[in-house]
C-alpha cells in the first residue's frame, strides 16, 4: 500500500510512534515517544538531558543511529526533513529576517506548491487566527517577542503538519508576556488535530500546555504520565524538585519505611523498595527534641534559608537532605541561622509512599 507521498504505509496506526536512538561520543539518547493525534506531550528535563536532540531527531534535523519514526502509520525514518509533514517552532523562532511576517507564514504553503496568491491568502488567514492580521507587512525585527512567537506558530501550522514540534516555545519571553502567550498557545494547541510534542524545562509550561509529561534525564525516560500523576509520585530528585516535594528512597515493611537511619511512619501499607514523598510545608522544626513519637523525627543542620513566597524555605542538611517551609514569624521565633542544629519532623498523614 502506497500513500500519496510515495512512502509505504507500514501500519494503520495513527499519531506518532517513535523510538529515538541517537548515539554521540559522550551521550546516548534512547527513548520511546508515543503521541496520539490531538494529544500534546511535553518532554521535560534538565539542561543536557537530550530533549532538544529528541525534537531535532523527530524533525529529521539530527540523524537517528537506531530506532525509527512512524507518523500516522507512515515510516519517516529515512524521509528527509522537507518531506516529513511536520511543523516546528524554534526556541528563538528563526523568522526569516528578510521577509515580512506574511511572507514568513506564506513560505511553507509556497514550498508545498501553492501559487503565490494562494499562499498569501493562507498566510493571511493564519495571521488573523493568531491575532496578528494588522502586522502582516511588518519585518520580524519590528515584532515584539510575543508577536514573533505567534508568527512562528502560524508559520509552523500553515504547512498543515501532522506533527507539531515546539522547542522551548516560551523560554525567550519575559514573565508577563509569557502568561498571555502561554494561554493563547494552549488554545491553539487544543484546536490542532495532529500530534504535538513540546520541549521545555519549565514544569509550569509543561503542566499548562501538555496532556501528558515525559520526563527525560541523561537521554532516557525516567517518568511519564499526566501532570497530576507525575506531581503526585515523583521518581527522581529532579522531578521531586520540579514539583516541590522532598523525595526519598527506602525499604518498607508495613507502615514503617526505613530511609537511612530514620524510620518514617506512612499511611500506606507497603513492602520492599518504596519512595517516600512529602511537601516542605509538612515539615515542622523544633529547637529542642520534642516529646512523644521517635518516628518521622531527625536532627538536622540548617544549610541555608531563602524567601519562598510569603514563607521562608529552610534547607536542611543531616541524615537526609530536606526542605522545610515555615512562616516568617516562626523563623524569627526559632532564631534560625545557617549552621545551627535543629529537630525536624513530619506528620505521617502528610507523607506519601509508593512502590519504587
Amino acid at each position: 500500500m502506497i500513500d500519496k507521498a510515495g512512502d509505504p504505509l507500514v501500519t494503520d496506526r495513527t499519531g506518532l510512534n517513535a523510538h529515538l536512538v541517537v548515539e554521540r561520543p559522550a551521550f546516548r539518547l534512547d527513548l520511546t515517544v508515543e503521541v496520539a493525534d490531538g494529544e500534546v506531550v511535553a518532554l521535560l528535563g534538565p539542561n543536557g538531558a537530550g530533549k532538544t536532540t529528541a525534537l531535532r531527531a523527530l524533525a529529521g534535523l539530527t540523524g537517528l543511529t537506531g530506532g525509527g519514526i512512524l507518523l500516522g502509520g507512515r515510516d519517516l525514518t529515512r524521509v528527509p526533513v522537507e518531506r516529513r509533514a511536520i511543523g516546528m517552532v524554534f526556541q528563538d523562532y528563526l523568522l526569516f529576517p528578510h521577509m515580512s511576517a506574511l511572507d514568513n507564514v506564506a513560505f511553507g504553503p509556497r514550498c508545498q506548491g501553492a501559487s503565490k496568491a494562494q499562499a498569501r491568502r493562507t498566510a493571511r488567514a493564519w495571521l488573523d487566527r493568531v491575532g496578528l492580521g494588522e502586522h502582516a507587512d511588518a519585518p520580524p525585527g519590528r515584532l515584539s517577542g510575543g508577536q514573533a512567537q505567534r508568527v512562528a506558530l502560524a508559520r509552523a501550522l500553515a504547512v498543515e503538519p501532522r506533527l507539531l514540534l515546539l522547542d522551548e516555545p516560551l523560554a525567550a519571553l519575559d514573565a508577563h508576556t509569557r502568561l498571555t502567550v502561554r494561554a493563547e498557545l494552549r488554545r491553539h494547541l487544543a484546536e490542532f488535530a495532529g500530534a504535538t510534542v513540546i520541549v521545555t524545562h519549565d514544569p509550569l509550561d509543561a503542566m499548562v500546555l501538555a496532556d501528558r509529561l515525559v520526563v527525560i534525564e541523561a537521554g532516557s525516560v525516567v517518568q511519564s504520565g499526566t501532570a497530576a500523576e507525575v506531581a503526585r509520585r515523583p521518581r527522581t530528585d529532579y522531578v521531586a524538585r520540579l514539583v516541590g516535594l522532598n523525595l526519598y528512597r527506602g525499604e518498607a515493611s508495613g507502615h514503617a519505611v526505613q530511609v537511612g537511619d530514620i524510620v518514617f511512619n506512612v499511611s500506606e501499607h507497603l513492602a520492599g523498595p518504596v519512595f517516600v514523598a512529602f511537601p516542605p510545608t509538612a515539615v515542622s522544626l523544633f529547637r529542642s527534641r520534642p516529646d512523644g513519637t521517635p518516628r518521622n523525627l531527625w536532627e538536622a543542620r540548617i544549610d541555608g534559608i531563602e524567601r519562598h513566597g510569603d514563607n521562608a524555605r529552610v534547607h536542611l542538611d543531616g541524615p537526609i537532605p530536606a526542605s522545610a517551609d515555615i512562616t516568617q514569624a516562626a523563623l524569627a521565633e526559632l532564631d534560625l541561622q545557617p549552621g545551627r542544629r535543629i529537630w525536624a519532623s513530619v506528620k505521617a498523614t502528610e507523607t506519601h509512599a509508593y512502590p519504587a
Partner: protein, 274 residues
C-alpha cells in the same frame, strides 16, 4: 546645578588615558604613506589639458574595455564563486581544507605567474586550449575574452573568501527552519541563504570588481596589450608612462576616480562595516 548634572555634563574622557605616541606617530606615518602618492597624483595632474586628453579615443576605449571586462569578470566570479563559497562553508568533505587553500592561491601568486599558468592551460597549445581550439574554434589568449579570463582568475578569491565568511557568519538554523517548512535544498539556498548573505556577496563583488579593474600582470601576460582589444586602463597607464607621462597621470586619475566613486557609493548601502 546638582552635582549629578555636573557629572553628566562634563566631557566623557577615555578611561585608559590618551593614545601613546609610540602608536600615534607610526599610525600618522602609515596614513601619510597611503595618502601622499594619491595626493601627488592630484597635484601633478595637467588640469588645463585634462578635458581634451580625456576625450581622446584611445583613453575612452581603454576605459570602456576596462569597465566591460571587469564587470563580466565579476559576473563570472559571482556565478562560480558563490556556489564554491557555499560548498566550502556548508558542506564537509575530505580535503575541504586543501580545497580552501587552493582557492586562495591566486591571492598570493604573482599575477604574472598566473598569466603564464593560464597560457600553459588555455593557450593555443595548452592542455585545455588545444581542445577548445580544435572542438569549438575558441581561442582565448590575446583576445578580449582572454582579458576577462585573466581578471576572473585573479579576482575570484576575493569574492569566494568574502562570501564564505558571510555564509559562516549566517545562522545555518535558518536553513533548518526553511527545511522544516518543506523547502528543498535549492529552494533553501535561493530563498533563505542567498538573501541572508546578500550583503557579503555585494561586498565581495565590489572587492572582486576593483581587483579586476586594476589587473595588470596576468592580463598583459595572457591577453597581451592590443589597443581596443586587450589594452585595459592599467596597461594603457603603463604604456603611456614611457612615452607620454602626462597621459599616464590622466589615465591614473580616471582609474582612481572610478574606484573611489564605486567604493564610496556601495559602502554605505551594502558594506555595513563601522
Amino acid at each position: 546645578m546638582t552635582p549629578s548634572a555636573t557629572f553628566h555634563r562634563s566631557r566623557p574622557r577615555p578611561a585608559v588615558g590618551r593614545a601613546p605616541w609610540a602608536l600615534v606617530i607610526p599610525a600618522a606615518l602609515g596614513l601619510a604613506f597611503l595618502v601622499l602618492p594619491l595626493a601627488g597624483l592630484l597635484v601633478r595632474a595637467p588640469w588645463s589639458t585634462l578635458p581634451s586628453r580625456l576625450a581622446e579615443p584611445h583613453v575612452l576605449e581603454a576605459l570602456r574595455l576596462s569597465l566591460v571586462t571587469a564587470t563580466i569578470a565579476t559576473a563570472i566570479c559571482i556565478l562560480l564563486g558563490v556556489p564554491l563559497a557555499w560548498v566550502l562553508a556548508r558542506t564537509s568533505f575530505p580535503g575541504r581544507r586543501v580545497v580552501r587553500a587552493l582557492v586562495t592561491v591566486p591571492l598570493v601568486l604573482p599575477p604574472v605567474v598566473g598569466g603564464v599558468a593560464l597560457l600553459l592551460v588555455l593557450g593555443r597549445r595548452g592542455l585545455v586550449g588545444q581542445w577548445l581550439d580544435s572542438t569549438f574554434g575558441i581561442t582565448l589568449p590575446f583576445t578580449t575574452a582572454g582579458v576577462v579570463v585573466a581578471e576572473a582568475f585573479v579576482a575570484m578569491p576575493f569574492l569566494v573568501i568574502s562570501v564564505e565568511g558571510a555564509l559562516r557568519a549566517a545562522d545555518p538554523r535558518y536553513d533548518e527552519a526553511a527545511a522544516t517548512l518543506g523547502a528543498g535544498r535549492w529552494t533553501v539556498f535561493r530563498r533563505v541563504t542567498l538573501p541572508l548573505v546578500a550583503p557579503g556577496i555585494a561586498a565581495g563583488a565590489v572587492l572582486c570588481w576593483a581587483r579586476a579593474l586594476g589587473e595588470f600582470g596576468a592580463t598583459i601576460t595572457f591577453a597581451g596589450n592590443f589597443p581596443g582589444q586587450t589594452q585595459t586602463m592599467p596597461l594603457a597607464v603603463y604604456l603611456a608612462l614611457e612615452t607620454e607621462p602626462e597621459a599616464a597621470i590622466v589615465l591614473s586619475l580616471v582609474l582612481l576616480a572610478v574606484s573611489v566613486i564605486i567604493l564610496a557609493s556601495l559602502r554605505d548601502r551594502w558594506v555595513n562595516s563601522p
